[in-house]
């Protein structure tokens, strides 16, 4: 059993996962437990009957204060495969617009006997706030908050890497693109360093890197060719157009020229390198179509693995 941490709001008194708010601060034992459990669920999703009775009678509320089709759908599929009842709330266009506070919304749903809240919010820290106010039998899973964290995406990236590379301790992983606005990058960097990846690189122009990114334990490259050399895993990030207020970049074409992943740049990585992307992709902006659809790409398997990983997280927290 991992040591209990009274200051980590994600863990209960026995050091077990009570909420999933961020990968940061989780011990390697819990990350490994989630990945191992997901591997068993991957077997379930390959059967004809893709359902297990684990969360029968439990209610999972999808609380999306910020739009997202893919993440919400994969959480919904995962909950349904666990036999939970799923309630989707597009809160952005309901109570909140009538002026209800975040905690009032949650208190009302709690009165409807919720067991698990899946929360996506544009403000960093919103899932933490909810987790501090829910009842002991209620669990919160962060489905992306502001620029802070997207732990289930980070976990499915870790699952994908372990699936293809077996072992974390010999790897060189490059994360390329808009790290500044990416909660995916932050979650993944914490996961990779916790599980013992010896070299994590970030490749981006200075304007798309958060200040002090080196303190996360990564090597910084501004030149993509130098950064990709001998990498085992290449994680491309979406250029977040909708977050780009102001002149961080000259143009999308200019970005593609320097930081877009093309076949000739990918040739500098290891021959058996895998290419990942959290989606949705901007073809021709951060990644060339021939690479996105090419032999190194594991972008669609990532989506499939995401369901098993979310089943694992839900069934672990709801059982603790």
């Amino acid at each position: 059993m991992p040591p209990s941490s009274p200051h980590n709001p994600q863990l209960n008194a026995n050091g077990e996962l009570q909420h999933l708010l961020s990968i940061e601060g989780l011990p390697p034992e819990i990350l490994t437990q989630i990945l191992d459990t997901a591997e068993s669920f991957a077997g379930v999703t390959e059967r004809e009957v893709k359902k297990v009775p684990l969360l029968r009678g439990k209610s999972v509320f999808n609380l999306f204060f910020e739009a997202s089709t893919r993440t919400r759908t994969t959480f919904e599929i995962a909950a349904k495969r666990l036999s939970a009842d799923v309630i989707n709330l597009n809160v952005a266009v309901s109570s909140q617009s009538k002026g209800e506070s975040l905690l009032d919304t949650v208190a009302n749903l709690s009165a409807m006997h919720a067991d698990v809240f899946i929360v996506r919010h544009s403000s960093s820290g919103a899932p933490h706030l909810i987790a501090r106010h829910v009842k002991p039998h209620e669990h919160v899973i962060n489905a992306g908050d502001g620029r802070h964290a997207h732990p289930t995406q980070g976990l499915l990236d870790l699952y994908t890497i372990r699936h293809y590379k077996k072992n974390f301790t010999q790897l060189r992983v490059a994360i390329v693109g808009d790290v500044l606005h990416s909660r995916v990058a932050r979650s993944l960097i914490h996961g990779l360093t916790t599980l013992g990846v010896p070299e994590v690189r970030v490749i981006a122009p200075q304007t798309l890197l958060p200040a002090g990114v080196e303190s996360l334990g990564v090597r910084v490259f501004h030149d993509m060719r130098a950064g990709l050399k001998d990498c085992d895993v290449v994680v491309m990030l979406r250029l977040q157009n909708e977050r780009m207020n102001g002149a961080l970049l000259p143009s999308a074409q200019e970005f593609f020229k320097h930081y877009g992943l093309t076949a000739d740049k990918l040739a500098l990585a290891r021959p058996e390198a895998i290419v990942m992307h959290p989606g949705p992709m901007n073809r021709g902006v951060e990644i060339d179509s021939s690479v996105a659809d090419g032999a190194h790409s594991v972008i669609l398997p990532q989506v499939t693995f995401g369901i098993a990983v979310r089943m694992a997280v839900m069934s672990i927290v709801a059982g603790n």
Binding site: D36, V49, K51, P53, G319
Partner: protein, 166 residues
């Protein structure tokens, strides 16, 4: 405490009993972890057509609400069609019957077997459900406050042991 039967001695006895019932439609599934060890030893002795299957019933347990998810669930792997088969379900120790119930629930999510028979190395009584073993290596009395566990040594040898119940 009464002396426990020798697990290694029970295996050939069980295999001899099973041999008469094997048909081309018979297939075997071992329950993780102890039942899988027993099945791995029995399966090669019986000349069955289908490879051995393995099941972990972690996702079908009836005590999830109380005990949560087991820490390290193994992957269920059934490398044959369950539909229409005569299945031999193998476990190490039969006690309350709850594991077997969970295993049957999981099996029916793979298909509709023609029959299921239960094979156990040891039956310690204490049933809480109407479940019985068709093939049983030995009946064992377990003292109050103790559990019966199957252990596997580094050389693969199996042994039954008492353990203080948690």
């Amino acid at each position: 405490m009464s002396k426990l039967p020798d697990a290694e001695g029970l295996l050939p006895k069980l295999a001899a009993e099973l041999r008469g019932c094997i048909t081309p439609a018979t297939a075997m599934i071992g329950l993780h972890t102890g039942g899988a060890w027993v099945a791995e030893r029995l399966h090669p002795l019986l000349g069955m057509k289908d490879p051995l299957g393995f099941m972990d019933i972690a996702f079908y347990r009836d005590d999830y609400a109380k005990a949560g998810l087991k820490h390290d669930p193994k992957r269920t792997r059934i490398p044959f069609e369950v539909e229409g088969k005569d299945l031999l379900l193998v476990d190490d120790v039969l006690y309350t019957g709850r594991t077997v119930r969970a295993a049957m629930n999981e099996l029916f999510d793979y298909g509709r077997p023609r029959s299921i028979a239960l094979v156990v190395l040891a039956d310690r009584g204490g049933r809480q459900l109407p479940i019985g073993a068709q093939y049983c290596g030995a009946r064992v009395e377990v003292p109050e406050g103790m559990r019966l566990r199957l252990k596997r040594a580094a050389d693969g040898k199996l042994a039954l042991e008492y353990e203080r119940a948690a």
